[in-house]
């Protein structure tokens, strides 16, 4: 049995050992992207389909780089170009792809549960690249990898997720992943954007960003979808920035230096001010770099490779 099983659908239910194994594999794989020839033959001959039912730039590109640097053959299917717009069901689309003999599907879908739905119906490995407001496990993993490095471990560390937790798959994956690793997790945002049952997920709730900043070692600042205002969850983006925006002035009052994460894309001047995003404690671009490594690690492990062989994979070149 491999360390992950057939699919990576979410971080809920993953053990500390499993998460640690992924992060430990990802760390050395990062070096591949630093070389002149950014390619290893590990997944040579494997076919991966990136099945995106929602627009995405960075996640899709990150997966594509990860796949290509591992020498997999990749095909990108985006909604506009697929037969889904002709009324074909998700399961028919996937079965058709599978009939062309593929090995893995990376799926991004607007509905919660879509990745699991697919995984239960096809033989190929399925990687969830974000399903509705459920999970985005590779984003959670890259956040963990970044935090583990910056904070020198995760056990007992305090991470506060700031913003629209209600609609955030990134938030859920972070909560499960961080808790599995022994970190303390809090959320902060307007109550209208926090699930009513959030405390039952085992997290602390801060109503004021000032209190959160005082408490935390790191902030993971979520993107505020602009349509939340039109749907009546908050009165205005302006007020959101004034009450919940992470600003330099607020950070300067913190008792310690905070690590600042953001899954992107950012709304500068709304949930995060530019001088914070571009400031010395921002690790936002390192998250992006780690994203490729984490996705390489997940592809590597789901392909059935043992964690211990990761270093060997790193050494080999085409």
């Amino acid at each position: 049995m491999t360390i992950l099983g057939k699919d990576l659908l979410g971080l809920a239910g993953l053990s500390r050992e499993q998460v640690t194994a992924i992060l430990d594999v990802a760390e050395p794989l990062r070096a591949i992207s630093e070389r002149a020839i950014k390619k290893v033959p590990t997944l040579r001959g494997m076919t991966v389909v990136n099945l995106f039912f929602e627009p995405s730039t960075r996640t899709r590109i990150s997966f594509e780089f990860a796949e290509k640097r591992m020498s997999a053959d990749t095909v990108n299917v985006a909604t506009a170009a697929s037969s889904v717009s002709k009324g074909e069901t998700l399961v028919d689309t996937a079965r058709n792809l599978e009939a062309m003999r593929i090995d893995m599907v990376v799926i991004r879908h607007p509905h919660s549960g879509a990745a699991r739905f697919l995984a239960e119906r096809i033989e190929s490995n399925v990687i969830n690249a974000g399903d509705g407001t459920h999970e985005h496990p590779t984003q959670g993993l890259l956040d963990l990898l970044t935090l583990r490095e910056k904070l020198g471990g995760l056990e007992g560390k305090r991470i506060c997720i700031v913003g629209d937790v209600l609609h955030s798959r990134v938030a859920r994956s972070n909560i499960w992943g961080l808790k599995a690793m022994g970190a303390q997790v809090a959320v902060c945002g307007p109550r209208s954007l926090l699930p009513g049952a959030i405390r039952e997920l085992g997290v602390e709730v801060f109503d004021r960003i000032e209190t959160a900043i005082e408490w935390a070692d790191a902030l993971n600042i979520l993107r505020l979808q602009l349509e939340r205002m039109q749907l009546g969850y908050i009165p205005s983006l302006r007020e959101y920035n004034r009450v919940f925006g992470v600003t330099r002035a607020r950070l300067e009052r913190a008792p310690r230096d905070l690590v600042i994460l953001h899954p992107g894309p950012m709304n500068r001047g709304v949930e995060i001010d530019s001088d914070v995003a571009d400031g010395p404690h921002s690790v936002i671009l390192e998250q992006v770099t780690n994203g490729v490594a984490v996705r390489m690690a997940v592809l590597y492990l789901l392909a059935g490779n043992a964690p211990a062989l990761a270093d060997a994979a790193k050494g080999a070149t085409v």
Binding site: G113, A114, G132, H134, E135, P195, G196, A197
Partner: protein
């Protein structure tokens, strides 16, 4: 004219006359001719041995969706009525959210005739409250009642305009029919796919808070109080709703209420894994709600047990959770679910369950049956209260297979169903 039918040696359970004793039952010319003790059947009577079985007035489900006209590939009046008798039901009330909507005498008459032609359970059509179930203009209650409608409802959605609901409650009194409300505040429920709580927070599905139902429950109770009309509340799903109905009854308001078999047996945990066969509206709620609904049923706050039988095509449920339609089939599992979760666990006795599945539905909706008193219609259900069986959806008479109980073992099953003195269903040995 069928031969007289003598049912012998069964446990006669008829709460309408306080009867629970072993004895015989004689049906002649579609009516109950004699009940109790040993009956010497007339010459040529067919005999049916009911030893070890409960002999009850025919079960009646006042909340089913038979999909005809409009979605005959999913269910027809005939297939639904056949599923009904296979589940022990001798009468069902068909909701009007058909295509086109059953909002006029012609369609009401059509549904009724389809039921008669099928010859299984009696099919009592609902008429819509408003034209097209659009919530704007009252449908013609008088003509629909003349054509066979027994109640009015916009089930599937609420009548949001309180003036229209008030008028419906007033106008329906002319015809002596209940106004039946699907309680939901759409603005609160909008986009919701399951109960709002821990499970929805975990699964990332938009939730429907219990208050979306409760606000409409209290609105309808207050409007019934204002108008002295009869409001019947569909498929209650929360503890709060039970408390509000209890208050309404204490105030003397003419309010009756029903609960579905799935809401007294399952919780929102059943959605785990994005199981679309656990998706319905109102959604499955918490264990605390289930306990309150059971208690409400026991103490009489909730009058009736129903199924909200809602067949869907396989393809419609075989998809992403948010896109799957609401509803499950229930006619062929309800008796087993009710015995397993209510009788076996001591919530209701067998007579109390029969009361809520037969006598009270007939009384609340002014339907024939619901009693085995001499002279009443010969609608009878024979069931084995201790027979254990495993739910196999592929064997359903309903065209719908969408059940969360597939593969589960239930206790209690219909053995014979008799409508108008004629055996219309017999469980294969």
């Amino acid at each position: 004219m069928t031969a007289p039918l003598l049912i012998t040696g069964g446990r006669l359970v008829d709460p309408s006359q306080g009867l629970d004793a072993v004895g015989d039952l004689l049906l002649v010319d579609g009516k109950v001719a004699a009940i109790g003790g040993q009956i010497a059947g007339p010459e040529g009577a067919t005999r049916l041995d009911a030893t070890g079985l409960v002999v009850a007035p025919g079960l009646i489900d006042v909340h089913v969706h038979l999909r005809e006209p409009g979605r005959e590939e999913v269910e027809t009046v005939a297939s639904g009525a056949q599923a009904a008798v296979a589940g022990g039901f001798t009468g069902v009330c068909a909701m009007p959210n058909t295509k086109p909507v059953t909002d006029n005498q012609a369609t009401v008459g059509f549904v009724k005739r389809q039921g008669e032609a099928a010859g299984f359970a009696r099919v009592y059509p609902y008429g819509a409250i408003t034209v097209g179930q659009m919530g704007e203009t009252l449908a013609e209650f008088g003509e629909m009642v003349a054509a066979g409608a027994v109640a009015v409802s916009d089930d599937g959605k609420p009548v949001e305009n309180s003036h229209i609901m008030r008028t419906a409650l007033e106008y329906a009194q002319t015809f002596g029919i209940p106004v039946v409300e699907h309680c939901e505040v759409m603005a609160l429920a909008h986009g919701g796919a399951m109960h709002e709580g821990t499970v929805s927070a975990r699964l990332g599905l938009k939730g429907i808070p219990g208050e979306a139902e409760e606000i409409d429950v209290i609105r309808c109770i207050l409007l019934a109080k204002l108008t002295t009309g009869h409001i019947h509340l569909c498929h209650l799903s929360t503890k709060g709703s039970v408390d509000l109905v209890r208050w309404g009854k204490e105030q003397g308001v003419h309010v009756t209420a029903e609960v579905c078999s799935h809401h007294i047996s399952l919780t929102h945990e059943a959605v785990e894994g994005y199981n679309t066969n656990a998706k319905m509206n109102p959604p499955l709620r918490t264990a605390e709600d289930v306990a309150a609904l059971q208690q409400g049923l026991k103490d009489g706050t909730i009058d009736l047990l129903v199924t909200d039988h809602a067949p869907h095509h396989y393809d419609e449920k075989e998809r992403e959770f948010a896109d799957a339609p609401n509803g499950i089939v229930g006619l062929e599992t309800a008796l087993g679910v009710n015995i397993t979760w209510l009788v076996e666990r001591g919530v209701l006795t067998i007579p109390q369950m029969v009361d809520r599945m037969s006598c009270l539905p007939a009384k609340v909706f002014h339907l024939p049956g619901g009693t085995l008193a001499k002279g009443s219609v010969a609608d009878v259900t024979l069931f084995d209260p201790s027979r254990r069986w495993t739910v196999d959806p592929t064997r359903f008479k309903s065209k719908g297979r969408n059940t969360p109980y597939g593969g589960q073992t239930l206790t209690g099953q219909a053995i014979s169903t008799i409508v108008g003195g004629r055996v219309v269903y017999q469980l294969a040995p």
